[in-house]
Symmetry: C2
Subunit: 242 residues, 2 copies
């Protein structure tokens, strides 16, 4: 096979990865399956680009983009997906098995960019990270030993994403808001709710995550996100001058 159309719209995002060997293994699997865009949020070891495990994928490693936040890593994406072993933790998102989630991702590729997030080896993705996501994916491992090696988990996801599954025609759809637009809406709503006194300072972190998740559930179209921002700016302005 060669890389399939749309695969360049997939961005693999590794959040706070500790072991450079794992980053190299991820790069190798990306190259095996024809994915080219790797983004790293605060990698633990700045020497990651020299990882010897990136066999055949050194170009991909040197092109990898390093950013400071999940928001930056997903800013041009309109579908953001987190991965989780999801064993004993309360989840606020729809959780889908890999095969079904991968179908949704493939359908999305003709209308916008997709970010696929993987957390650190020890802790996975935090609730703060997950708040940027539209839904979560789980590889169907045994519950008694659910947690996978990072490089293996990424390899399986990319294998599933690139498999021939008779990709369906996607009906003409309105362009969706990018994550950056959606985040702007989130921030404006948060500001509006703070200024309105709806949000109490001591619970603001939890509330911000709730709001972030809620806005993602809207799957905003680009035009709606713009309108929404205009409304919120107006509200904030009014709340400020009162």
């Amino acid at each position: 096979m060669t890389a399939k159309p749309g695969q360049d719209a997939v961005h693999v995002v590794l959040v706070s990865t500790r072991n450079p060997l794992n980053i190299g293994a991820v790069a190798r699997a990306m190259s095996n399956f024809g994915f080219g865009s790797l983004r790293l949020v605060n990698p633990f070891d700045p020497s990651f680009r020299e990882a010897r495990s990136a066999v055949g994928a050194t170009g991909l490693m040197s092109d990898a983009v390093v950013v400071d936040s999940v928001a930056d890593a997903v800013q041009d994406c309109s579908l953001v997906i987190g991965t989780t072993a999801a064993t004993n933790r309360e989840l606020h998102h729809p959780l889908r098995p890999l095969s079904s989630g991968a179908t949704s991702i493939r359908e999305h590729l003709s209308i916008g960019n997709v970010a696929l997030l993987f957390g650190s080896e020890k802790r996975g993705l935090s609730n703060e990270d997950l708040a940027h996501c539209h839904f979560l994916l789980r590889i169907p491992t045994r519950e008694a030993h659910a947690s996978m090696n990072l490089g293996q988990a990424v390899a399986i996801c990319l294998y599933e994403l690139s498999r021939d599954a008779g990709v369906l025609h996607t009906p003409k759809a309105q362009p969706l808001a990018t994550a950056a637009d959606t985040e702007r809406v989130t921030q404006l709503l948060f500001e509006a709710l703070q200024k309105s006194g709806y949000i109490k300072p001591r619970t603001s972190t939890v509330t911000e995550e709730k709001i972030r998740r809620m806005i993602r559930r809207f799957h905003l179209e680009a035009a709606d996100a713009e309108d929404f921002q205009g409304m919120l700016r107006k509200i904030i302005y009014r709340l400020t001058i009162e």
Copy 2:
């Protein structure tokens, strides 16, 4: 999910693996997907049982069986499958994409054991190794970068094997010959052909591999293998006393 019925009939066979970290990664993926039997043919590093990459799978590592030959590793199996990146090499076997091969493997699990072979990191499986196989599997990677990391390749195969694919009912079938029985037939035929002068000494290695592959293509039933051995023993006896 929990381990599915039949998964204990799958034996993962690593041939001449060099890096203990890869063996550990394989064990971890096996545990993630509910497979328990690991067999190692001539592992390069005898300290493999201490591999720190076997997170959550140290029991599986300590139960791993070490053998001297592929024949020993597959002796109780009636379906033997090799894995290959198959880029630029002449193949003597049917080559199937993972998804289709995995379906055949699942169907086989109710009638006999399956061995799934993975070669060394550098060279993969040799032609001698492959001669023990009934067919070959290929993970559909890009041709420009086909060769996968061993731990990732095993993880993808086990993911595919354990996926819910609406496993079909397998009609009641005759028990198939084990690999040990099949190998006995192979050896007897080889001996018969040598004694008959069919095989010239200087080409005997190549011919032995050809014969080994041919016998595997027969998918011998257990009873047929027994009869076949009787026939060959008789022939050899006659050739010897002439």
